[in-house]
């Protein structure tokens, strides 16, 4: 009963934040220097086209009216038309989302488990030489720029060793489809996924290790020790379960960045994802496209935050049963 109330309240909050995202989105673009109609029409537009754009998007109207028509358009699923790609923004975004998701979701899941496993291995002997060494190595890995790492991997495995392809999502010269296409994509995805996963492992390692170390000095551990439970049993049954929540929370939060987090890696590996789409939109000042992408990513982040809160109420009995 109380949970339903919370769900309702949180959903209302979600809608509110999405609404704010829409407004911020709109304001940033429309408060930019220059004539928005000219910007949206593009650099090659004629005077008539600019006026037509101004009419079409109501840019001659005052800002509040424009905001309303923008919101109405969005609600209908109309995110505008990209003049650089000559396609509707929604179509473009829909095409690119799976590409980015392939990279980010896979790498996040891999990083989560690798980080967790490493943490379990080293945290049982916390502050030992191995533990400290691994922590410092993780910190160093976390300091590597993703685009540089990708580039180095291309150099080593793509060029020097010639094991993996150096760029692209598929082999442009092949015309395979079905299973062959899937395998080709998978083959091309190994280096970028490795790059993304490597950069993220330190994040999961750190939160998991620190939580485990913290939980290991909690009072219930001593209660069970005095009752005669072995340290490994206490660890497996009690410490781990108590340590799961923060890493899972971090993972859920990272899902929010699932559309934007791979931009640099997409550029380096030449994958046609959301990141590259945004970059080309920014370079060519394709404002409808920019606004559309920005909106979608903001909504994704809000959804992820919403998801985390709900997840929290399900996983943490302290929150669930008030």
């Amino acid at each position: 009963m109380e949970w339903k109330d919370y769900l309702l309240r949180r959903s209302a909050q979600l809608l509110l934040t999405v609404f704010f995202a829409l407004i911020i989105n709109f304001l940033i673009i429309n408060l930019a220097p220059g004539d928005p109609a000219a910007l949206m029409a593009g650099e090659l537009a004629t005077k008539e086209y600019i006026e037509a754009v101004r009419e079409r998007w109501g840019l001659n109207k005052p800002i509040p009216e424009r905001l309303v028509s923008y919101l109405l358009n969005v609600l209908q699923g109309n995110l505008g038309y990209s003049y650089t790609y000559l396609q509707s923004v929604s179509t473009l975004i829909a095409e690119r989302i799976p590409v980015t998701l392939l990279l980010t979701l896979t790498s996040s899941i891999i990083a989560f488990f690798v980080g967790l496993l490493l943490a379990v291995k080293t945290s049982q002997k916390a502050f030992s030489k191995v533990d400290l060494f691994v922590s410092n190595v993780m910190l160093t890995i976390y300091s590597i720029p993703s685009f540089w790492l990708g580039l180095m991997l291309i150099g080593i495995f793509g060029v020097a060793l010639r094991i993996f392809p150096t760029s692209g999502m598929v082999n442009v010269r092949s015309t395979g489809s079905g299973v062959f296409l899937i395998l080709d994509i998978a083959y091309h995805s190994i280096l970028p996924i490795v790059t993304l996963a490597t950069i993220q492992v330190p994040i999961y390692y750190k939160i998991a290790r620190n939580t485990i170390v913290e939980q290991s000095s909690e009072d219930y551990v001593s209660t069970f020790l005095m009752a005669g439970m072995s340290t490994s049993s206490i660890f497996k049954k009690y410490v781990l379960r108590n340590s799961l929540l923060p890493p899972v929370t971090v993972f859920a939060l990272h899902l929010g960045y699932v559309l934007s987090g791979a931009a640099l890696v997409e550029v380096v590996f030449g994958w046609p994802g959301m990141g590259r789409l945004l970059l080309s939109a920014v370079y060519s000042r394709d404002y409808p496209l920019i606004m559309g992408i920005y909106l979608v990513t903001s909504i994704t982040v809000s959804l992820a935050n919403f998801f985390v809160d709900i997840l929290y109420t399900l996983l943490d009995p302290r929150v669930r049963y008030k």
Partner: protein, 326 residues
């Protein structure tokens, strides 16, 4: 006949480069069917005492001397397997109650069951639940708590669950470590009363560790007073509380309870009050001399270098102080 005997127990902790002596030549006995109170402030070593008996000291602690005799065997020499047959079945502990004394993400049922099955693995689910429910009833708490999580329960209820847990295997000795911390006065009174009733009904021996003299004097038959890792006084509770011998015990009593005018005047005339009521610093045990020397109004040069030993003053009343060397 002694149920439990501690002989010259010394324990030290390694903190960085320093070794801190937590217990120094601690000796006393516990008799069957009695409630023994251990009275001491923080740093006196009373918690270390409980951990030593349960063989649950942290990794940076070392037992550097002495023995703990139970049923004719030295607990400090036993193997893990032998210890497992004694732990919880013969000696159990009610740990200090805090928010996280029990795992916050597991139900009470699962935690109690895990403890029970650790020592009685052959039980099936139904038998285990029966025992858990029986002990919960003994501890005066409803069986409904089995389905709850620790945070849903009040401090008093969590304390009772810990009590029930300690009773699971019908031990002969139960150690209660600060059973009243964090509880309001009314609940404190109830818990202590229930503990006393349990003890006299079931016949086990109980060791109550507390810093609160009213807790000790209301429950225990005999009292052991600890200071700075050493035993400074032992005797029947009425004796120790009614006519305290050691300067520390007298100070405690004056601070925590009303004492007769006569004794008060006696103390006044021989006392530097500033010294007596000096704020508590951490009072680790010393390797030489009496641990109370810095706060004792009667301290002499001898007290700094020589450590007094327990002397019998009355029937069963012992004290460790040079004042009583006749």
């Amino acid at each position: 006949m002694n149920l439990l005997e501690l002989n010259e127990i010394s324990v030290e902790y390694q903190l960085g480069k320093n070794n801190i002596l937590a217990l120094s030549n601690v000796s006393f006995s516990m008799y069957p069917k009695e409630i023994l109170g251990i009275l001491g402030e923080s740093g006196s070593g009373k918690s270390t005492l409980a951990l030593t008996i349960m063989r649950a000291l942290p990794k940076n602690a070392r037992i550097i001397g002495g023995e703990v005799i139970f049923n004719g065997k030295n607990l400090l020499n036993l193997s893990e397997d032998e210890l497992n047959s004694i732990r919880w079945k013969e000696i159990s502990i009610i740990p200090q109650n805090s928010m996280n004394s029990l795992s916050p993400v597991h139900k009470i049922r699962d935690q109690l069951r895990d403890i029970l099955l650790l020592h009685e693995p052959k039980l099936d689910e139904k038998e285990a639940i029966n025992i858990m429910e029986e002990k919960l009833r003994l501890a005066n708490i409803s069986e409904d708590v089995l389905d709850k999580f620790p945070h849903q329960l009040s401090g008093g209820m969590r304390q009772r669950i810990l009590i029930a847990a300690s009773l699971l295997c019908n031990p002969e000795i139960i150690i209660a470590d600060e059973p009243t911390t964090g509880l309001d006065v009314v609940t404190q009174y109830q818990i202590l009363k229930e503990l006393k009733n349990l003890q006299s009904a079931k016949g086990f021996s109980m060791m109550i560790i507390s810093h609160d003299i009213s807790v000790i004097s209301n429950t225990s038959h005999r009292t052991v007073v600890m200071y700075g890792g050493k035993v400074v006084e032992i005797g029947p509770s009425d004796s120790v509380v009614g006519s305290p011998l050691h300067p520390y015990t007298r100070m405690l009593l004056e601070v925590q309870m009303e004492i007769s005018k006569k004794t008060q005047n006696e103390l006044h005339s021989r006392t530097n009050f500033n010294k007596l009521h000096k704020s508590v610093g951490v009072n680790f045990a010393h390797h030489s001399g009496c641990p109370f020397v810095q706060r004792c109004p009667f301290a002499t040069e001898k007290c700094k270098t020589e450590a007094p030993t327990l002397l019998k003053v009355n029937n069963d009343h012992y004290v460790s102080c040079f004042l009583f060397n006749k």
